[in-house]
Structures are given as C-alpha cells and as structure tokens.
C-alpha cells in the first residue's frame, strides 16, 4: 500500500448547528494535518468544539464548510455507502461509555464490525466463520481480555469493558482509532491500563486520535491540539511524552 504522509488534512472547517431559531458555531475555521502513525490528543474545555471536530474527522458528521481530505481524497463526494465502508474498514471507535451491547457476549460484541464487513470477503461461509473466530481471539489477546470471551458485558469491570470496546475497534485492523474520552468513566488504574493499550497500538503503527479534557491523559500523546471556541489555539509537540509504567498496572 502506498505510503501517504498525511492521513488527515483539513482546511478551514466550520460547523454550524442550525436549530431554526439560533445558529451555534461549533467550529469556526479549523485547519490541521495529521500524519499516519501519529498519536494526537485534541484537548479543550467542554463546549470548545473538540467533540464536534472529532465527529467530523471520524465521518460521524459532516462539516458545514471547508475541505476535509482523507488519505488524500476529498471527502465531499463520499456517499453513504463510502462512509459506511470507511467506518468499517479504516476507522475504529472507542467511546467514553463503552457502548457494548448488553444482551450479547464479549465475543459477539467484538465480532460486530465483521458482520458489516462486506468488503474483504465475498461470502460468509464456514471458513470465514472460523477466521472470524480467530480474528476476535487475536483482538481480545491484544487487550489481554481473551479469558473473558464468553462473559456478558454486565459481568465486566469498567476497565475491562473499555478494553473489550478497544478490541472491537481493532477487529478490522483500522488505520485510525478515535478515542472519545476513553478514560472518562474509569478509575485511574483502569484508565492507565486503557492508555497503555492505546500506546501499544500506536507503537504498532495505528494512528490514534484522542479527545480528552484531562491534560494528564493528553500527555500520553505525541502532539496536543488545544481547541477553544471552535478554533485551534495551540498545536504543540509533547516533549516529555508520558508512558505508562507497566509494572504499576499489571497484576
């Protein structure tokens, strides 16, 4: 696969929420480039527009104006089908509230994106089922959750739930992982475990975009974009990148 330096490139992105009566300017001209393999944190107070920016970058929402180039391609013309493809193949999501389906097991939760993978295989035959199982196992191993395969989400701790959610995000081996306040609902120890997993993924080559309002969490990234009132006010490299002391968190 050709190497594209800039995986994300956006110019003067604005986002206006129009409720009819009032217009809210969530983004007022955001420009930024993110290179493949980077670990970027988007920081800002609540209401700053950091979440809106993430929604636009992760194809959950569209910008009102401005250009967004994804892997060198203008995203303006992407149709619903193409967006579904990108969400399935190129992007993994980690949510603050985990978003696991309560009624099904860990295995089925992690498998979910494979059910919508119409692109890397043509049929869902027995062979694929077997590969699916292997892929789910591998994803769970990479977050050290393989021993919880048949558990229900309600039987897991918060940190374990988030690691399962990360396994789900990894299953299609996406280029980018978007993590929206991944430690927001966790105690500090579980939060560190999750950050450790994300660091590991970044080392394996995944681009990670982390949205957070905690500077301690943001310092795990190589680069921090500060956003205030819908504009990027600061874009700096982290010189002393924090990294999780593994001895501390492993049992």
């Amino acid at each position: 696969m050709e190497k594209i330096a800039k995986i994300i490139s956006c110019k003067d992105i604005t986002k206006v929420f129009d409720t009819g009566e009032t217009k809210t300017h969530a983004l007022r001209g955001v420009s930024c480039d993110i290179a493949e393999g980077e670990f970027v944190a988007i920081m800002g107070p609540s209401g700053s527009g950091k979440s809106t920016l993430m929604h636009v970058l992760s194809f959950l929402d569209r910008a009102t104006e401005g250009g967004y180039f994804f892997r060198g391609k203008d995203t303006k013309d992407f149709d619903e089908e193409k967006l579904a493809f990108i969400r399935n193949q190129e992007i993994g999501f980690v949510f603050q509230s985990f978003n696991l389906m309560q009624r099904v097991s860990v295995f089925e939760n992690v498998e979910l994106p494979l059910l919508y993978d119409f692109y890397t295989k043509t049929t869902q035959n027995k062979e694929d089922k077997k590969t699916n199982k292997d892929r789910v196992m591998n994803a769970l191993k990479s977050v050290s959750m393989e021993h919880r395969l048949h558990h229900m989400p309600s039987q897991l701790s918060g940190g374990e739930k988030q690691r399962v959610a990360i396994a789900r995000a990894l299953i299609n081996n996406p280029k980018i992982i978007f993590a929206d306040e991944p430690t927001g609902n966790l105690d500090s120890k579980s939060g560190l475990q999750v950050m450790h997993v994300l660091e590991g993924l970044n080392k394996q080559g995944h681009t990670i975009i982390l949205v957070t309002h905690e500077s301690r969490t943001a310092e795990h990234a190589q680069r921090i974009l500060r956003i205030v009132d819908g504009k990027i006010v600061d874009d700096k490299r982290v010189h002393n990148q924090r990294s999780v002391d593994t001895d501390n968190i492993l049992k």
């Binding site: 969400r87 978003n99 389906m101």
Partner: protein
C-alpha cells in the same frame, strides 16, 4: 425478567389482530369452500339436469309467487301432457307433475297430520330415487285414480316400526291407501327430506283428496345437462302457445333449472365470505398497526445500538433489513398462532355440522398454509417498512450521546 415477560405480553396483545386476521382467512378458505361444496353436492344430488316449471311469472333472480305459498292455478294437467310429447320437448326423458297437501295419516295407533305429495309415475326417474321394497305406482294407476301409496324410508319405519308393511292399508284423510313400495334411504337436503315423503298418484291426490285441477309445479329431467337451456326454451314455446301468450312479458309461468335456483343460496354463502374477508382485512390492518407499534417501541429503545452499528460500518439498508426481519418474525408469530386458531375454528364448524347431521367436508389444504404465510410476510413487510426506514436514518452520532 418481569420486564421481559411484560414485553412478551404486550407483544402478544398487539399481534392479536394478526392472529384473528389469519384465522379469519383460514375460515374463509375452508368453511366457505365447505359450504359451497355442500351446495354443489346437493345440486348433484337433486340433479343438475332438472328443469322446474312453476306457475306464475317471476323476474330472473327472485322466486315466483308460488314459492311463497300464494296459490296460482294457471298450470293444468293438459300442460303436463303437452310437455310429455317428444315432438314438443325432444330432450325431456321424464316429466312429473307435483301437488301437495296436508292430511291426517292413520295406521293402528299411529295418527298424525302429515304432508303428502301427488306425483306422476315418472317422478322416480325425474328425481333419480330408488325403490327399496315393492314398486312405485304406474301411469295406469294414476289415470285410474288408484288408491296406492309409496312411503319414504323413515316415515315407513315411523308408521310400521318393524312390521311387514307391503300390502297394508293406511288411511290418508278418510280414504284407505294400499302401501305398494318403500323408497330407498336418501337423506335430507335443504330443499326436501326424501325419507319423510309420502307419495300418492297425482290425479288421485288432485281429484280424490284435494279437489283441484291445477298443478303446484312440474319437474322435468333432460337427457343431457348441455340441453337444459334448449329445453327451457322448448317448454316456454309450448306453454305460451297453450296459454295464448304472445311475448315473454306476459308469461304466467317460470322455467327454472336447479342450478339457477341454487345460485341464490350460493349468493348467501358469498355474502358470508365477503363479510369474513372484511373482518380478516380489518383485523390484519389492526394487527399490522400493532406490529408497527412494536417496532417503534423497539426503535426508541435501541437508538443507541443502531448508532453504534452504523458507527462500526452498518449501511442504511443493513439496519433496514434488520428491522424488517424482526417485524416479519413478529408477524410470523402472530400468523403461526392464527393458523392454529383457524384450524380449531374449522374443526369446530365440522363438529357443529356433524351435530346437525349435515354432510360437511372438513377442508384443510396446503394452500391455506401458503396463503397465510404470504399474507403474514406481506403484513410484516408493509407495516415494518416505515419503522425500518426511520431506524435506518438514525445518525451514528447517537452512539456518542452520553446517558
């Protein structure tokens, strides 16, 4: 768990429309066909090659006045003789005049007022009845006003019990009649109960008992069913010339075949069919709205899940099919229950028919299963499509909303 049961109960209540609708469809298909079969059987039993000539005019659909008990005296024995002539009505193979009356029938301790019929000797051929014992009376006996009687199987048993009855004399009114024959058992139709009939010669009945010179009606057997219409025309020509009628406006008689008479009965069963079909349609619509309601509840509970599915790559149509699949499953559950409720009602109808000694086929065909299945799937699709479309348009952003 209790929540789960409550949801199940609610689901069941809302699909009850589908249950009733499918059951009604089944009943229409089975009982409707059974009723029509019964009528067709009776046409065959009486004979589709029969032509009836009734006194009095009638429009095409309604029965003539004589069937309401109004006495019309315009049809005489001379008409009967004219219709018997091969040169007049070539396709007639047997012709019988009919009169009837009530009188007291006595034998030993038996004493009852009964209906008797005066018929021609040809009656046996006309109606296709058979004699079990003895013989039917002859044309000669009719001409000579012989006092002989032929009894239906059941009435013979009522009067004589197990006694040997041939040659015995019973009293009809004040006159003695010799029993010459017993009819074979034939059963009852809605038109007549053959086994309770008392037959005496036509002219004996007219002159000796009733004191009349007219006929209640004439029945004629045609050589072939396809000649029925031709024969009806022949009959009209003969009677018009005898009654000096110039055109059909002035007819003082009506000519019917059994099929046209029974089409009226058929109409009644059709009305029943339409009514049940209407009930079925309304129930199915109500049931469909129930399915739609269930799907909207499911939708509102799963907005977040749908958002998640879209965030991990589900396309609109994937969500749409997921919802359509579920609405079809729900409709299928209703259809499945309705199918068995329908079978039960069909069985009940059969049991009821047995109670009343009606010959009734219990009709259950694979076609019913197919039709129920197709209707159910269509209901699931039709009423599932709106909630499914709504679900498919949920934004993946919903997955990110914090609770």
């Amino acid at each position: 768990m209790q929540n789960f049961l409550a949801a199940k109960m609610r689901t069941f209540l809302t699909i009850i429309g589908v249950v009733i609708g499918i059951a009604a469809v089944m009943v229409v298909m089975s009982v409707g066909t059974s009723a029509q079969n019964m009528i067709l059987d009776q046409i065959r039993n009486v004979g589709s090659d029969l032509v009836a000539i009734l006194p009095g005019a009638a429009d095409d659909d309604g029965p003539p006045a004589s069937t309401y008990g109004i006495v019309v005296t315009t049809m005489k024995n001379g008409d009967l003789e004219a219709l018997r002539k091969k040169s007049n009505v070539p396709h007639a193979v047997a012709v019988s005049g009919y009169v009837s009356g009530n009188n007291v029938v006595q034998y030993k301790s038996y004493d009852k007022s009964l209906t008797f019929q005066g018929v021609s000797a040809d009656m046996l051929d006309v109606e296709g009845s058979n004699i079990a014992f003895g013989r039917f009376f002859t044309s000669a006996e009719d001409e000579s006003l012989a006092r002989v009687v032929v009894l239906g199987a059941k009435i013979a048993k009522d009067i004589f019990d197990n006694e040997d009855m041939l040659g015995k004399k019973i009293k009809i009114g004040s006159q003695s009649f010799r029993v010459v024959g017993i009819m074979e058992e034939r059963g009852a139709t809605f038109a007549a109960n053959y086994d309770e009939s008392i037959y005496i010669p036509l002219q004996t009945a007219q002159k000796n008992i009733l004191g009349i010179d007219y006929l209640n009606f004439i029945r004629m057997k045609v050589d072939d069913e396809k000649n029925v219409e031709q024969t009806k025309d022949d009959v009209r020509t003969v009677l018009r010339s005898r009654h000096d009628i110039a055109d059909d406006e002035g007819d003082d008689f009506s000519v019917r075949n059994i099929a046209s008479a029974l089409s009226m009965v058929n109409n009644v069963t059709n009305i029943m069919k339409y009514f049940l079909t209407a009930v079925a349609s309304i129930s199915l619509i109500v049931g469909g709205i129930g399915v739609m309601n269930i799907m909207f509840i499911a939708l509102s509970k799963r907005v977040r899940e749908i958002g998640l599915r879209k965030a991990v790559g589900a396309r609109r149509r994937d969500i749409m099919w997921q919802f359509l699949f579920e609405s079809m499953i729900i409709a299928l559950i209703g259809g499945f229950i309705g199918f068995f409720v329908g079978l039960f009602v069909i069985w009940l109808a059969w049991v009821a028919a047995m109670q009343y000694d009606i010959e009734w086929d219990m009709i259950i065909t694979m076609q019913m299963a197919y039709v129920s299945l197709i209707i159910t799937l269509v209901i699931g699709l039709l009423f599932g499509i709106y909630p499914a479309r709504k679900a498919s348009r949920i934004s993946p952003m919903e997955a990110l909303r914090y609770e």
